[in-house]
Amino acid sequence: MISAYFIHLGIMFGMYALLTLSLNLTVGYTGLLNLGHIAFFGIGAYVTAILSPHMPLAISIPLAVILAAAAGTLLALPCGKLRGDYLALATLGFTFICGSIARNWISLTRGALGIAGIQRMGSNTMIVVSLLALVLVVYLILKWFVSTPTGRVLQAVRDDEVAAATLGKDVFKHKILCLAISAGIAGLAGAFYAHYITFIDPSVFSINELILLLSMLIVGGLASLEGSILGALILVLLPEPLRFIGFPSSLVGPMRAMIFALLLLLIVLYKPRGLLGKVDLE
């Protein structure tokens, strides 16, 4: 029983670590304030949940990743020219639109009822081991990627977009690449979520989840991959004591959201670089 609880925490941590790492690529390294990240997670979860009854997971999960990455590309195409708060608002609009579609395209998504009975990926132990291994792999790949010439162009785009363009770098293409990679990883996290929880509904697109991701990212610090892992770990563990204090269950949800929102506010107000951050949020 206790080990089952820790396995669950491990899976939650792994999922959020994947999401925060990939969000850091867009927000921290490329400087794109992307509030559509949770939508890619939702798209990944929905794609594999809808497809998996008709095909093996070995096909439906990669398809989930590809479609999430395609959605990222699609979002980057019109939004590539926007900056700062306008980009944030347009991508936030994208999250809302995805949530609306999930709620209303009932023949495909079963609307607010959600999709139940999704195929399990395997035993929980197998899920936690593969997920944590995946976090390590993604961490190492991203660590390598940001030091490659392409990765350095992304950081140049963040620091000075005009200068990067002056040096002949195709800023727009790099932004698309960054969003596609980041969205693909988020889609993979979504696929794990769907095949672990075995139920999804439109609340995966909720703005509360988005705030949770932003808190993890900013607590850990921008442009620090270690920070993202640390941020995910801290915020997954932080609300756990609420479970044991014995609040009525109707209060636990809102209290969790309040803790995350308050933490985000405090960090933005008093420690804008987070724990391990290398750049400021702009």
Partner: protein, 286 residues
């Protein structure tokens, strides 16, 4: 035919409430130059305060006045606690936006924790009229009249009073306004009080016309913000026109789409305008 009249009426009624939200929002945006996304949660907060005061038996007139006062003080407190320290640090508009989204979630969750998830409604007597085959309630007539009186009053306040002119000066050019002795911090406090007071009125009207639920603030800011963006964020009359447009489009849109898509229509409008016409319907190129 009567269905069309009804849909247009419904659109105008809800659109005028959105206009109130959008006006407060764009006033704040123009003077402070950042997106105060928690503005919708101030509307929700006011609606719940109003509900509470009515339940306490304070009567309609006193509850209305107290709600507006509490909402406007609440707005000033938000500015003082959250936004002022960020401005002092010269944080960018994007950071202020993130803070305001955090604040919105904090307020929504606080309402959910205190008031519960169940939908609440405020009982009032509300006779129904027949206008060109459409059913309009007395409250809806009052809503439209009140919103337009308020907006006209606001227009004269901004155009002809000293304080209104000082606010517009801060909005136009903060540095120059300071050199002629206008204290920007004071203007920020005033604009948050006025904007949140308008949000208070919107909260009361929404509370009476529709039901109260903890997430209502998110929906209100999306509609109000969309209206403001469509009308051009720097123009208050534009925000009003944009909000009426949002109300009309989402109500007429459900002729073709299932009513669940009502919100999606507003998001799609927002997305399209942010991408292609960020200065609004009447604005020039970005």
């Amino acid at each position: 035919m009567s269905v069309a009249v009804q849909l247009i009426m419904n659109g105008l009624i809800i659109g005028s409430i959105y206009a109130l939200v959008a006006t407060g929002f764009s006033l704040i945006y123009n003077v402070t130059k950042f997106v105060h996304f928690a503005h919708g949660s101030v509307v929700a907060f006011a609606a719940y305060i109003f509900y509470l005061l009515i339940k306490l038996g304070l009567g309609l007139p006193l509850s209305i006045i107290l709600t507006i006062i509490i909402a406007s003080i609440f707005g000033a407190v938000i500015d003082w606690i959250v936004y002022r320290p960020l401005r002092k640090r010269k944080a960018s508009a994007a950071v202020l936006l993130i803070a305001s989204i955090g604040l919105m979630i904090l307020l929504n969750s606080a309402i959910l924790a205190v008031a519960g998830a169940d939908v609440k409604s405020i009982p009032i007597t509300n006779p129904v009229f027949d206008v060109w085959g459409a059913r309009i309630t007395q409250l809806q007539v009052i809503i439209i009249a009140m919103v337009f009186l308020l907006l006209i009053g606001l227009y004269f306040f901004m155009k002809h009073t000293k304080l209104g002119k000082a606010m517009r000066a801060t909005a136009d050019n903060n540095a120059v306004a300071q050199t002629v002795g206008i204290n920007p911090q004071k203007m920020y406090t005033y604009v948050f009080m006025i904007g949140s007071g308008l949000a208070g009125v919107a909260g009361i009207l929404v509370g009476l016309e529709q039901n109260l639920f903890p997430e209502m603030g998110t929906s209100m800011i999306i509609k109000g913000f969309t209206g403001a963006v469509i009308g051009g964020m720097s123009s208050v009359p534009g925000s009003v026109a944009g909000s009426l447009f949002v109300g009309l489009v989402e109500n007429i849109g459900i002729w073709w789409l299932p009513s669940g898509y009502k919100d999606a229509i507003a998001f799609a409008l927002l997305f399209v305008f942010l991408l292609f016409k960020p200065k609004g319907m009447f604005g020039g190129k970005s």
